[in-house]
């Protein structure tokens, strides 16, 4: 099997995640989709690192994870506080930017 398949898989997952971000209204699910996209990237990184036979890709993936963790923590906190004030987790309800 050609290891490039991993890349195709990553692309597929990434796209699904992106579509999810666009389609879902529930902020939590949107967040999950973001995570999915991140993971897809990680997969790509790892695959590349294997292809080039060095570990840099894995390091980057590692950092991605860390950053993702931080982002999730803050993001979920935001969701919770928004939910507290608006009693809704729908991203469409957070539309203060609307004219």
């Amino acid at each position: 099997m050609n290891p490039a398949n991993y890349l195709y898989l990553a692309a597929l997952l990434f796209t699904i995640g992106a579509a999810g971000v666009l389609i879902r209204r529930n902020a939590i699910v949107v967040f999950m989709c973001v995570e999915l996209m991140l993971n897809a990237c990680n997969l790509a990184f790892v695959t590349f690192s294997r292809m080039h036979g060095n570990l840099d890709g894995q390091v980057i993936a590692f950092f991605t994870m860390v950053v993702a963790a931080a982002e999730v923590v803050v993001g979920l906190a935001i969701i919770v506080s928004i939910f507290r004030s608006r009693h809704s987790a729908s991203v469409d309800d957070a539309n203060l930017m609307k004219l």
Binding site: M1, N2, P3, A4, Y6, L7, Y8, L9, A11, L12, L13, F14, T15, I16, G17, A18, A19, G20, L22, I23, R24, R25, V29, M32, C33, E35, L36, N39, N42, L43, V46, S49, R50, M51, G53, N54, L55, D56, Q58, V59, A61, F62, F63, M65, V66, V67, A68, A69, A70, V72, V73, V74, L76, A77, I78, V80, S81, F83, A89, D92
Partner: protein, 300 residues
């Protein structure tokens, strides 16, 4: 799973190292688990309840972890399971609980044309990505053998603490900040003085709805479970005695009727035993009489 384990063995790694193609085992594994991953992703997007989305996402992540392992990124594979599937997904689940497990949002689109544009963009983007990968020149395939020769973890450690040490430090700072930020965001200051018992009781008296303390559940009943309302002297059940949450969820087990039936049966047997006919019918009519009987019986 077996093939995944075999992928772990240095032999296959070294074997993978010289060829530009992976072992058949890995291929099989890829195709099987890849399908799972994609399904999981789709489920994440399409499930109505966010709990289900979370679970399916978790599945996908585990699959990815396996893929990492299969590709010689042992450290990442483990971290993926521990941090992502273990920590982050749990965090998600917690939040889902906080926000309400039953809050299933409808998948009906409210923004005009949003869904079509999303689909269009998504598919177009995916096609572009895949096309890009397709005509990228990916002939180099070194394999992770060299890199992992000194051990994958050590290798990573060396890089992280030498080349990427600066980024590493920064990430640490980021994490701290994130933790503090999360705390600040979620922590809620008590804005008004807590109401003392005196105030509470005064309030009760003032609006005179329920002056006395609420009845405890399970009183006058054969059970003492919290989901069973107390029975009033007339045998009917008192809603107040059950936790409001349970009431809201309609999880109150009402035993009033059951109790009546049993009483009736008891009376009958007692009547037969005492040979009193006339009383019996009436006794079944009104609860007062039955109550009276019960009183007598108690007296006995």
């Amino acid at each position: 799973m077996m093939s995944a384990l075999s992928a772990l063995s240095p032999a296959t790694v070294s074997l993978a190292a010289e060829t530009t193609r992976t072992s058949t085992g890995e291929a099989v594994q890829f195709w099987v688990l890849g399908t799972v991953a994609v399904l999981g992703a789709l489920a994440t997007v399409l499930m109505k309840k966010s709990v289900h989305s979370a679970l399916s996402l978790a599945a996908t992540m585990i699959v990815l972890a396996v893929f990492y392992l299969a590709q010689g990124a042992y450290f990442l594979g483990i971290v993926q399971i521990v941090v992502y599937t273990g920590a982050i997904m749990m965090l998600f689940l917690f939040v889902v609980m906080l926000v309400g497990i039953t809050a299933a949002d409808s998948l009906k689109e409210t923004l005009k044309g949003q869904r079509w544009m999303a689909a269009g963009c998504g598919i177009g983007f995916g096609i572009l990505l895949i096309a890009g990968i397709g005509n990228a020149s990916l002939d180099t395939f070194a394999g992770s053998g060299q890199a992992n020769s000194g051990g994958n973890v050590q290798g990573l450690a060396r890089l992280v603490f030498t080349t990427y040490v600066w980024a590493f430090e920064i990430t640490g700072a980021l994490l701290i900040t994130a933790a503090v930020g999360a705390m600040v965001l979620t922590h809620r200051e008590r804005t008004e003085e807590r109401r003392t018992q005196r105030e509470l009781s005064q309030a009760r008296v003032r609006d005179g709805v329920q002056v006395t303390p609420l009845p405890a559940p399970g009183t006058y009943a054969r059970h003492n479970a919290v989901d069973i309302p107390a029975l009033l002297p007339d045998g009917s059940s008192s809603e107040l005695s059950v936790n409001s949450t349970l009431r809201a969820r309609g999880q109150v087990r009402d035993v009033a009727a059951d109790a009546m039936r049993r009483l009736a049966a008891l009376d009958q047997s007692a009547g037969e035993w005492l040979g009193r006919k006339g009383l019996r019918d009436k006794g079944l009519e009104s609860s007062e009489s039955s109550a009276a009987d019960r009183a007598e019986e108690g007296a006995k």
